[in-house]
């Protein structure tokens, strides 16, 4: 345990010398990164609200892990069901965590099955909403449903500093439309706060880390910090007044735009008033501009820390955007991902795809292992109290089908799931029903979800 509570040791002179620097100094960072894996006990003092857990139990966390372009399903599906299932080639990286991960086969997202091109965009837009998106490249015409993570955030998000966290590895294509007349908003976002409101995601692990952890200037004394918070509150009051005055002079659609701003300012005020002081401050911020594979690892580590410190309980992660054409030459694979995914049954192409798919599963397995290392106050692990979903916007890259999806579910969800099994569902079982189960495990009072989620799956 390498946490050093910071005492009040900054003399005024020191504070002045520190010159209002924004980022907090990290003790370990100066040492060149002694990467001690931190296992942070679930201290009450880490909680933003200073409240005790209900029943003294850690809360349930939900994580959604998206990979693009489908999976080579015949190298994915175990032949045996139940516990101790076999691990086909692509699932081999799950070996050390097999008891914590279930393979769910036979799930479908029917909302995405529409007979026009653009399955990557549509499947990704619908990935967590289970709603059919409108076919438009014009961002003003976008229509989708609310995504499962945002349903959870609306219900339990007020208990943490960040209602939800949206992260990924790519911002987006800078030119052209994104997929057969579908807006880039569908290809870049799996988290949707409302029908036309994608939740923008952050794509640099260092920036996510800073957002989560570096907002608290430890170089200031308690008194200085309190004063700065008062000043900050005055600024927010001032700009809110300005916006309200402006609001009265605008037309309807201009007001709707300005409302987005006002909502954002209110979120900031709420967070400031939460009284969170940032005691949960991990060491080792990630580096800037990491190569892709290291970036994925760093982003997943930041996700673990956000959950560990209970800064949020709902996380979505996009390994890449829909239909990504990323090159995986660092795996020795020629070509680009989306191009390869149209494999046409060619053996060499399928082999390349399987290498990429296996690597994706290995990243997921690493996240699961990390979550299993984090011990909470009651002796359970973070993984015990989480449900972590892995899937893709389509099943097979050639067929672009939205049934028979590749789905992994890790964690016990605080006792709401028994992991470590292969469960085969009858054809066309809505994945929305799985989302419904995940919501209920997190204590969200929901009886239906998306277009076809009406009967939660029994995961125990």
């Amino acid at each position: 345990m390498s946490f050093k509570p910071h005492a009040k040791w900054w003399t005024p002179k020191l504070a002045k010398a520190r010159g209002g620097r924004l980022s907090a100094p990290s003790r370990r960072a100066f040492l060149g990164g002694a990467a001690a894996a931190i296992t942070l006990p679930f201290l009450e003092s880490l909680r933003p609200w200073g409240q005790a857990w209900a029943n003294g139990h850690p809360p349930v966390r939900l994580v959604y892990y998206y990979v693009p372009n489908g999976i080579v399903m015949n190298q994915w599906k175990p032949t045996q069901t139940g516990p101790g299932y076999d691990l086909p080639r692509i699932l081999e990286p799950l070996l050390p965590v097999r008891d914590h991960v279930s393979v769910l086969t036979g799930l479908a997202n029917r909302a995405a099955s529409v007979p026009v091109a653009g399955d990557h965009a549509r499947g990704t837009g619908s990935f967590l909403t289970c709603a059919t998106v409108t076919h438009t490249a014009d961002a003003a015409q976008i229509q989708n449903g609310i995504s499962v993570d945002q349903v959870a955030a609306n219900a339990i998000g007020h208990e943490t500093l960040f209602p939800s966290l949206e992260v990924g590895m790519s911002g987006g294509a800078p030119v052209g439309d994104c997929d057969s007349g579908y807006s880039c908003a569908y290809t870049r976002n799996i988290s949707w706060a409302g029908p036309s409101t994608p939740m923008a995601k952050m794509t640099d692990p260092k920036l996510v880390f800073d957002r989560l952890f570096a907002g608290f200037d430890r170089t200031l004394s308690e008194e200085d910090r309190a004063r700065r918070e008062r000043w900050r509150a005055s600024v927010l009051d001032t700009v809110t007044d300005e916006a309200n005055t402006l609001h009265r002079r605008l037309s309807r659609s201009d007001q709707a735009k300005l409302d987005e701003y006002l909502t954002g300012v209110r979120e900031l005020e709420k967070r400031m008033q939460s009284g969170f002081t940032g005691e949960c401050y991990p060491s080792d911020p990630p580096g800037l501009g990491l190569p892709y594979a290291e970036g994925v690892r760093a982003m997943n580590e930041v996700m673990v820390k956000a959950l560990e410190c209970d800064l949020t309980r709902v996380v979505t992660f996009m390994m890449e955007n829909a239909g990504s054409n990323r090159s995986f030459d660092f795996l020795g694979v020629p070509g680009a991902h989306h191009e390869l995914s149209h494999h046409q049954g060619v053996a060499s192409t399928l082999e390349s795809l399987a290498v990429i798919d296996t690597w994706e599963v290995s990243q997921f397995a690493w996240l699961v292992e990390r979550m299993n290392e984090v011990v909470e106050a009651d002796g359970t692990t973070l993984l015990d109290n989480s449900l972590v979903l892995f899937s893709s916007e389509i099943s097979d890259g050639d067929w672009h089908n939205h049934d028979d999806l590749p789905v992994l579910l890790a964690g016990s969800g605080g006792g709401h799931a028994v992991p470590g099994r292969h469960i085969r569902y009858s054809s066309e079982q809505p994945i929305a029903n799985l989302f419904l189960s995940m919501l209920q495990a997190a204590g969200v009072n929901a009886s239906s979800f998306g277009q076809d989620g009406t009967a939660p799956l029994d995961l125990t």
């Binding site: 003399t11 002179k13 961002a139 294509a173 880039c184 201009d254 735009k257 979120e267 030459d329």
Partner: protein, 680 residues
């Protein structure tokens, strides 16, 4: 009107405005009703700054080198551009980042920076720490008898340093643990250590002048006590030691602050000076004069901060951060006199100044534009024209290349392409950069030297560097970048540029379909419909190799595909001599390349040179350029009611010599640009 071969396929781009649009060239509806020209200038929704606009604006406002918007979420695009008002939304994450940026910018603008501080923390258990007694444990060092602990540091410059130790003790016996802290063997402070647990450990700091070079921080333990009979043991425990400094560094210069602080509070008084500074900076940041109450609000913030123990700089910093977080900064506000009125009214002088500056510079107005707005001169066509020509000659007009052409011609896409390393071993970062620069220089030449835009398609010479010369197989220029005759390499105009070939290819092969689609959508504004399901991808048959062309021709045997691909593919075939990174090739998969294309009206062309000639002569091209720049200038899609304006604009541009400046002037003086209406 000149002949347009696409006329039979689609409405011309000026008029292909919206589904169901039935407006005619003379501005009449199908029922013959002629719309009054300048009847409806449309309206642009309240528009936030996009990422480029934000960064350019703070650059021009403060002179900062910070580019905060690089960390903002990506802007969504509509109609090909990322400055479309309806599409630019604000999420809570945006506001959070706006606040961070405002604080960072305001801090930078008001601080007196010190030298970079030396700032090191050494955990006592780390291997570089030595001691005369005791032992390192998991995360502390236990001095279990009288002795010394030494931690090495190396300070970069001479000055006053703070040395700190974090200490606690196993207490026992009659006294508290007695310790000293010092440097290079010299004790600087001696004290009791009261804390008994690590969680409550105490910090002891000494300040000392140090010369540059290595030093040793030392902690002494003086009064060990051990009574095994009673199980009493006094030990000193060291968590870590640290060094920070120099604390007495002189502040460095801050030119941003020097520009911002236009008065001296010592001479005219704190509040008068603060008011002057804030009023000046907010007028520029909000791009209009402030109302008295608005200045009062900012001054009120300054007063609240100074009344709460803040310094003058604190007050200015906090108020400046409010200026930068304000909706008047984040949005480009245009207020309708009657928000529900249908009547078209001219934009205010300052609103017009901002429309001009964000159109041509993607940034705020400069002093000359503000002055013209203040004088009320911008309501005059001749003055607008004068300003536009002045602004196009300004280096800030490079934004038209980076932002407008970057998206129109797909230049921005070059950075994101991932050509397959096995297929194209010649491709590297240097070639990528050269490709991008060639396209940017080429477009900039139309803004700067005002050559006819038909040469975008027919130019004989192009500016290239040695790397591209080798790539193209032509004689390199005598300077780093220089004009070279490219006709021997059959590469005249944008259609022959490798960057374009790259962004319209797949990682392992060319895509005549994407290239044809690029010509249709970007040069002719005649975007084909998206494909029906199940047609993505071409069959790679390793046993029976074919050219891409042959595979596509098979695919077009399907009548469902043919309806669109009969138009798209022949345009794309003209590019077939250029592979996925724009290298000239005579063979594809072992077969000779056939770059013959044919238009639906039967006219044939071979290669991009001939295609360029055909396109340059087609009136659709100039109409499409008008339409693209109109969309960019206004930040909204053209509406059916814009038809008369577009006709007027293209009259000046397309029927003339196709000069970019004429087009920019025509748009900037159009009522669609200068007027707006409410929302009935």
């Amino acid at each position: 009107m000149k002949h347009s071969w696409l006329a039979a396929l689609a409405l011309g781009p000026l008029l292909a405005l919206a589904p169901g649009c039935s407006c005619n060239l003379d501005g009449s509806d199908d029922d013959g009703t002629v719309r009054p020209l300048h009847g409806d200038p449309g309206r642009v929704t309240l528009r936030r700054l996009n990422r480029a606009e934000y960064d350019n604006t703070v650059r021009d406002l403060l002179g900062t080198a910070l580019r905060p918007a690089r960390d903002f979420p990506y802007d969504d695009t509509s109609f090909g551009f990322d400055n479309v008002a309806d599409t630019l939304s604000i999420s809570p994450l945006h506001v959070e980042m706006y606040e961070q940026a405002a604080v960072a910018l305001a801090t930078e603008a008001t601080e007196l920076p010190l030298e970079e501080l030396y700032d090191v923390v050494v955990p006592a258990e780390s291997p570089e720490v030595t001691a005369t007694t005791g032992a390192a444990y998991g995360d502390y060092y236990n001095l279990w008898s009288n002795g010394e602990l030494h931690a090495p540091i190396e300070v970069p410059v001479a000055g006053l340093y703070a040395l700190t130790a974090r200490l606690y003790a196993d207490q026992g016996g009659p006294d508290l643990a007695l310790a000293s802290l010092g440097v290079d063997g010299q004790v600087l402070d001696t004290f009791d250590v009261v804390a008994a647990t690590r969680d409550t450990a105490e910090l002891h700091t000494v300040e000392v002048q140090l010369q540059p070079g290595p030093h040793t921080i030392t902690v002494w333990f003086h009064n060990d006590y051990y009574d095994p009979g009673n199980g009493v043991d006094r030990n000193l425990k060291v968590d870590w030691v640290s060094a920070l400094g120099p604390l007495d560094a002189e502040p460095g210069p801050n030119p941003i602050r020097d520009r911002l602080y236009t008065c001296d509070p010592q001479s005219i008084g704190d509040e008068a000076c603060a008011q002057q500074i804030l009023s000046n900076v907010a007028t520029r940041a909000w791009r209009r004069p402030l109302a008295g109450a608005e200045v009062g609000g900012l001054l009120g913030l300054f007063q609240a901060v100074t009344a709460d123990g803040g310094t003058f700089d604190d007050g200015v910093r906090v108020a400046l951060s409010a200026v930068l977080l304000s909706p008047h900064f984040i949005y480009r506000v245009e207020v309708d006199p009657d928000p529900e009125g249908p009547e078209a009214v001219p934009l205010g002088d300052y609103e017009l100044a901002s429309r001009l500056s964000y159109f041509l510079w993607s940034s705020m107005p400069d002093e000359a534009l503000f002055a013209a707005a203040e004088a009320g001169a911008l309501q005059d066509d001749a003055e607008i024209e004068r300003q536009v020509r002045r602004m196009l000659a300004d280096p800030k007009a490079a934004a038209l290349t980076e932002e407008f052409a970057g998206q129109w011609l797909y230049i921005r896409g070059i950075d994101n392409m991932v050509p397959d390393v096995w297929t194209y071993p010649d491709f590297d970062a240097e070639l990528r950069a050269s490709m991008k620069e060639e396209m940017e220089r080429f477009f900039a030449s139309f803004v700067g030297s005002d050559r006819p835009m038909s040469e975008l398609l027919t130019a004989t010479h192009g500016e290239i560097d040695a790397r591209l010369a080798a790539h193209y197989g032509v004689t390199p220029p005598s300077t780093a970048w220089g004009a070279v005759d490219l006709t021997p390499a059959e590469r005249g105009g944008v259609l022959g540029q490798a960057g374009l070939h790259l962004v319209t290819s797949y990682p392992t092969r060319t895509s005549p379909v994407q290239r044809g689609k690029w010509v249709l959508s970007q040069l002719l504004c005649s975007e084909p419909k998206p494909p029906p399901p199940g047609v993505e991808g071409l069959i790679e048959d390793d046993a029976n190799p074919q050219t891409v062309r042959e595979r596509l021709e098979q695919h077009r045997a399907d009548p469902m595909c043919a309806s669109c691909h009969d138009v798209m593919d022949p345009l794309g075939f003209a590019f077939e001599h250029f592979d996925g990174i724009g290298t000239w090739r005579e063979v594809d998969h072992g077969f000779p390349v056939d770059a013959m294309g044919e238009l639906p009206d039967g006219r044939a062309f071979y290669g991009t040179q001939e295609l360029g000639q055909v396109l340059a002569e087609d009136p659709l091209f100039s109409q499409c350029v008008s339409r693209k720049l109109f969309t960019w200038a206004l930040g909204r899609a053209p509406a059916p009611t814009d038809a008369p304006y577009l006709l007027e604009i293209n009259g000046r541009f397309g029927d003339g010599d196709l000069r970019f400046s004429e087009l920019a002037v025509a748009i900037a003086t159009s009522p669609a640009f200068r007027m707006r209406r409410g929302e009935p």
